[in-house]
Amino acid sequence: MVEQFESSTDVTVALPRVRERIPTVVVDDAHVIYRVHKGAAGGSSPVAALRRMVTRTSAPNIREVHAVKGVSFTAYRGEAIGLIGSNGSGKSTLLRAIAGLLPVNRGAVYTQGQPSLLGVNAALLNDLSGERNVTLGCLAMGMSPEEVQRQIPEIIEFSGINQRGDFASLPMRTYSSGMAARLRFSIAAAKKHDVLLIDEALATGDKGFRKRSEQRVRELRESAGTVFLVSHQLSSIRDTCERTIWLESGVLRMDGATDEVLRAYEAFANGK
């Protein structure tokens, strides 16, 4: 690593630049494969399980999903990048790999600092009250207990779950799906981020909440170095991103200016 660094400095000197572009995320031929359990199949008895462990064969009900197949790109500071593609094309998986939550099987992902994934998938405990879930979520993001105490009222206020009575003290399982999603988004958005990865977060909740959350994302963008946005709403990609990456079946199909990529994507989607 050090040698490469030294040899590369010469190149920098040799090349005059108008504006130096600082990369924040470098994805180099990344492959992500994860294992899925297909559920109860034959041979799930303890004896069969024991035999499999002894003979070191994998269970027959596991399938490997090759979700991202050799994607490469570089993201620079100050960029907002949209990620598009049809369902199951590997967008969310790619974001998780960038966040370092899912390891890559081949290739590498390099990042500046610790990217944060802002998703609505943060599984919380449904048997606990909304307020306790806020505490737990904030602690899991690495906040100190004092900071969490300060943030709780703000987060609950932002999520708006208390608009119809005191829902914050009720267990999460009593929430409607929209309310739960709003609370999760509010928890995740409570922290400042260097590299921000947003996964479909803007689509949750009612109109009023969507407005507030879009405003929040814009604030987060200003403080973050680079923003990735996964969305099926092309309008929100058009509004926020100047560059767009199009993934299809785990392969990078196009990477370029948003207008250009969206036009090609729409032609592809209509042609199907």
Partner: protein, 298 residues
Amino acid sequence: MADTALADPDSGLTQAQLAARYGLRVAGERPSLAEYSRRLWHYRHFTAAYANAKLVASFSNARLGQLWQVLTPLTNAAVYYLIFGVVLDQNRVPNFIAYLTTGLFIFNFTQSAVQNGTQSITGNLGLIRALHFPRACLPLAATLTQFQQLLGSMVVLIAIVLVTGEPITMAWLLIVPAVLLQAVFNAGLTMAVARMGAKVADLKQVMPFVLRTWMYGSGVLYSVALFEERLPGWASKLVEFNPMLVYIELARVALLEQSPLLSSSLFQLWLAGVAWAVVMGLGGFIYFWRGEQEYGRG
């Protein structure tokens, strides 16, 4: 465009060189052991809150709520006493009911911690794939939850021991270090099975067999003197160093006046207890840390 091998056409660098030049780090890189321990300490509040939350959540649907924390061990003790104390009549152990419940509760601490630990990665994949925190928080929280359960059981145990006529002595204080040593042992063991369980989901099916066998080998339900009488010398010696037997005997020595012991000396018993805690605690932690990057894959 995208298919070019060079990341930055101007400088002629490959992706990896570019990353190295700007000091980017591999995403989700495993930190050093010292750094990992530091992060784990930083997340101690999360671990505690998560353990507590799990404990509350496990009773939240039951009508009697937290009362089950005491009722479960009590019912367990009653059932085992009925079978092993009354039906099979183990009259060779003085104060059999206290002897039995001590062993049962101490063993149950490890058993439940291991059972929950096996699933602490697989059962929390949503959390792992969404948030960044040292994954060791999860098996540690599983141990902590069971430790809180144990405190509930301890209240019941002390009551049983007192009711059955054991005197209160200074030796009772020894139950505190004994249980703490066991907790460290459990934490290590839980981390180890958590990593194994993350790799091989079948472990969940196999675990009950392993734990049942372990229970029979730890002298929970009958007099430990039986090991010496019925087993060949080397096997009896082996059982003597079984960590669960060690911790159970430590608790029995602390609480009961005359309970049969397999270990030849108290010093050796404590030594074994400390050794197991250190070996398992450290070993489990290092083993778990080595797999840190893999846990999100499922």
